[in-house]
């Protein structure tokens, strides 16, 4: 039993890792895009874009990686999920296209700059919203046999709210990223918005959790019907603790600024890691509820797994290249460490 499940389980975990990396990394740069309309001046917008322009491409690659791992390791799940989530995927792609090209065109434009600002903000928001929507649709269950049904079938209050919640979560990540990478007024604004977003995100997490537990009996049983229930309670408790620390750190950043005190770097970068931890905990909670399904209640990872020949073929690639990718990605972030300097020229 265990041997048979070994490889599929490995790819299931890898898929989870890819999704998590994507959500954390593209989360903060999509978040910067969502926050964009709340910053006003051209200089602020320049700064916001500059802060992520060297990393967005690499961050988005995790989305492609997640897609192809699903395709290569779980072809049946890739086929079922992609075709049943047709519209949100297409809209997400359109959003990603507009916000992606605006990085290139905005810095080269004059009269059309305002349009690239809009493309960046709306594209980022649309992509984030669609991702949340898809999450909601998957959790509530999609009918993969009924592709012919109405396009609006999956649009329930629950999935729409998930869309908003993911937008808010990404915006929170964006705020904590800006708190780490910026100075002065932008940092202040980011910390202030971050506190408000944090309250909203925590409320959403509570609401989505309760909603799911109320409507999905099997998930409820998993959380409360087993001997592990007590251990599982560590997840929400840790989340509350993280949120508490995060709220305090963001407050400190603001007070330090007001007092013109020496900047203590710890408080400037820690919010980002705390926000990332919040995402990790939320993701863990989701996996607890949905394991071992790729398409909840319909298709588990071992049902959808590709033949061993395919899983084995990818294995050396994953074992060699994923650590390498992590190493040079980290090195890339290291090269651009510290604050984003507005005088630094691009290419």
């Amino acid at each position: 039993m265990e041997l048979q499940l070994g490889l599929p389980l490995f790819y299931f975990l890898l898929l989870g890792f890819a999704i998590l990396m994507y959500v954390l990394l593209d989360g903060f740069d999509l978040g910067v895009g969502i926050l964009y309309p709340w910053f006003n001046s051209d200089a602020e917008h320049d700064h916001l874009m500059r802060s992520v322009s060297h990393v967005w491409d690499g961050n988005e690659t995790w989305l492609v990686f997640g897609g192809v791992i699903l395709f290569g390791a779980f072809p049946a799940a890739y086929a079922a999920i992609a075709s049943s989530l047709y519209l949100p995927i297409m809209l997400m792609l359109i959003g990603l296209i507009f916000r992606g090209v605006s990085f290139e065109y905005r810095f080269k434009s004059h009269s059309s700059k305002i349009w690239w600002n809009r493309a960046f903000a709306i594209g980022s928001s649309l992509a984030a919203f669609c991702q949340g929507l898809m999450l909601g649709m998957l959790v509530q269950g999609v009918d993969s046999s009924g592709l012919q049904a109405s396009s609006l079938q999956g649009l329930t209050p629950f999935s729409l709210f998930c869309g908003l919640a993911v937008m808010a979560g990404y915006a929170l990540l964006g705020c904590t990223y800006l708190t780490m990478k910026s100075r002065g007024a932008i940092q202040q604004k980011a910390a202030r918005y971050g506190q408000r977003l944090l309250l909203f995100v925590m409320l959403s997490m509570l609401l989505v959790s309760l909603w799911t537990l109320y409507s999905q009996a099997d998930i409820r049983a998993r959380w409360f019907g087993s001997v592990y229930s007590l251990a599982l309670m560590l997840l929400p408790l840790s989340a509350i603790l993280c949120a508490r620390l995060l709220f305090r750190d963001l407050g400190r950043v603001q007070r330090q600024f007001a007092a013109a005190a020496d900047i203590n770097n710890r408080h400037e970068s820690r919010p980002f890691w705390l926000a990332a931890a919040l995402f990790l905990l939320a993701f863990a909670g989701l996996v607890v509820g949905l394991f071992p399904y790729l398409l909840p209640r319909q298709l588990s990872f071992y049902q959808a797994a590709a033949p061993d020949s395919s899983l084995q073929f990818m294995l050396p690639g994953v074992l060699i290249f994923v650590p390498l990718i992590l190493a040079y990605t980290l090195w890339g972030y290291h090269i651009f460490r510290g604050k984003v300097e507005d005088f630094e020229e691009g290419y």
């Binding site: 060297h54 492609v64 992609a82 592709l147 013109a260 507005d342 005088f343 020229e345």
Partner: protein, 468 residues
């Protein structure tokens, strides 16, 4: 008329993949050229090479960006629009694409940030290294995606269990019979595409801008490249054609416009209008026996024609036939330009022949048109099969309602049309603006340790502290 979801899905895929291929075709070659210029600058310290690199890195960046965003679409479109195809071939094609992401996409994205934005953060040598890695990343990416595509033309190394493909030999899947030819043909095509974009721009700059030194260098280098690459491409293309004859004879028959079941001493058709209703050509202009000579190396050699298979196993002959002529025509034009350029260089009048430079300046899109035409030959020529001889396209389309596909297709057509206009506008703008002058380049900060960096940092921090 009832809307046909399958047709719409196919149209959407054709449209989005055609749009996408334009950009990697340019960036594969351009990344390589930029790496060469940067290397030459490091080696010779001649600022004209840095000028070339710095000038072309901007068009490169917007082209690369367009390639990235249009490429992500494709990685999901297999599943959204061809779900049954994804389900049955995922175990073969998915791992190849996973390797593409693992060995190329992350590499390109990771080092692109340093290549574009790292001029001040890393030293010149490390920057050069980043550029080389990006260039190599584009080649690796081409390798995997061509392997996957070639397998759909000449599938091998697999078996079919319960209607699902699984792999017996990865070596045979990757290096399937058409892969080496297709890969060399495509990589050369990409190099040539970039070469002609730079060639045309340099010719234009020689005529209309004051950056003559850089333009001369650009023109000279690309003409040498064209002189080597275009005849080589004709040779590789011929080999690829022989490979098609062996493995996809119906496609070859469509390319050559051959209808009879078998035809000995087939002529080379310069022009004709294939008519599938009566199964013959109209208005033929032909060179007798040449097609047989080229493809069998015997003027009376026998070739298979379209009528050897039932009508429902033939591709759209007209599309394949004309696309092939467009591609070959452009290829011959490119060879002529390269030879003419070499002749003018030998005569010593290359940089003053206004007529030649004017002609060259119109050739910027020539490579792209040839690449698109070539892909239409390849992909339309495989129809009605998606995996040659095994999977029919029509059988594996997602069972989506037609309106949904129409909606997304409309969105893509609008988005891509808009963005293509924008892309051309900015390319034109960047080319008109020209490179930073040699003087400016010397003043530009390179490396965090450059003295200018500290000065600029101090300047920036000052107003920030005054706010307190």
């Amino acid at each position: 008329m009832e809307l046909d979801a399958a047709l719409l899905s196919r149209l959407q895929f054709a449209f989005t993949v055609s749009f996408h291929i334009i950009f990697p075709s340019i960036t594969i070659g351009l990344a390589t050229l930029i790496a060469i210029w940067e290397g030459l600058w490091l080696k010779t310290a001649n600022p004209v090479y840095l000028q070339l690199a710095k000038f072309w890195i901007k068009p490169f960046a917007i082209t690369f960006g367009m390639g990235v965003v249009s490429g992500i679409v494709l990685s999901y479109e297999f599943g959204t629009n061809f779900s049954e195809f994804s389900r049955i071939t995922g175990a073969v094609l998915g791992p190849l694409m996973a390797y593409e992401v693992l060995t190329a996409f992350f590499l390109e994205a990771g080092f692109l940030g340093i290549m574009l934005f790292g001029w001040q953060r890393v030293g010149p040598k490390l920057h050069f290294f980043a550029t080389v890695v990006v260039a190599i990343g584009t080649w690796i990416s081409a390798f995997w995606i061509i392997a996957a595509n070639s397998w759909m033309h000449t599938p091998s190394g697999h078996s079919i269990v319960d209607g699902v493909f699984q792999v017996d030999s990865w070596w045979q899947v990757i290096f399937n019979p058409s892969m080496p030819y297709r890969f060399s043909h495509m990589l050369l095509a990409a190099f040539i595409t970039a070469t002609f974009v730079v060639l045309a721009t340099s010719a234009w700059q020689l005529l209309h801008s004051e950056h003559k030194t850089m333009a001369r260098k650009g023109l000279s280098m690309t003409l040498w490249l064209a002189l080597i690459l275009t005849p080589l491409q004709a040779f590789v293309g011929d080999l690829h054609g022989l490979n098609v004859k062996q493995h996809q004879p119906v496609k070859l028959a469509a390319m050559e416009g051959i209808w009879p079941e078998r035809e000995a001493g087939a002529p080379l058709l310069l022009f004709a209008i294939p008519d599938k209703a009566v199964e013959k050509n109209h208005f033929e202009i032909a060179i007798p026996k040449l097609a047989s000579l080229i493809l069998t190396h015997d003027p009376d050699g026998e070739l298979m024609g379209l009528k050897a298979v039932p009508a429902n196993e033939r591709p759209n002959v007209a599309v394949v036939f004309f696309s092939f002529r467009v591609m070959v025509g452009i290829g011959l034009l490119m060879i002529a330009v390269a030879l003419l350029g070499a002749y003018l260089r030998w005569r010593g009048s290359l940089y003053h022949s206004r007529w030649f430079l004017t002609a060259c300046s119109y050739l910027a899109p020539s490579g792209i048109i040839a690449v698109l035409a070539g892909w239409y030959v390849v992909e339309v020529g495989r129809q009605p099969w998606l995996v040659q001889g095994l999977v029919r396209t029509i059988d594996v389309v997602s069972p989506l309602p037609a309106e949904r596909v129409l909606f997304s297709l409309t969105l893509f057509v609008m988005t891509y049309s808009l963005l293509f206009g924008v892309y051309l506008y900015f390319m034109r703008k960047l080319i008109k603006k020209g490179p930073p002058s040699a003087g400016q380049l010397e003043q530009q900060l390179i490396g965090v340790k450059a003295s200018g960096y500290a000065v600029a940092l101090a300047k920036q921090l000052k107003p920030a502290q005054e706010q307190h």
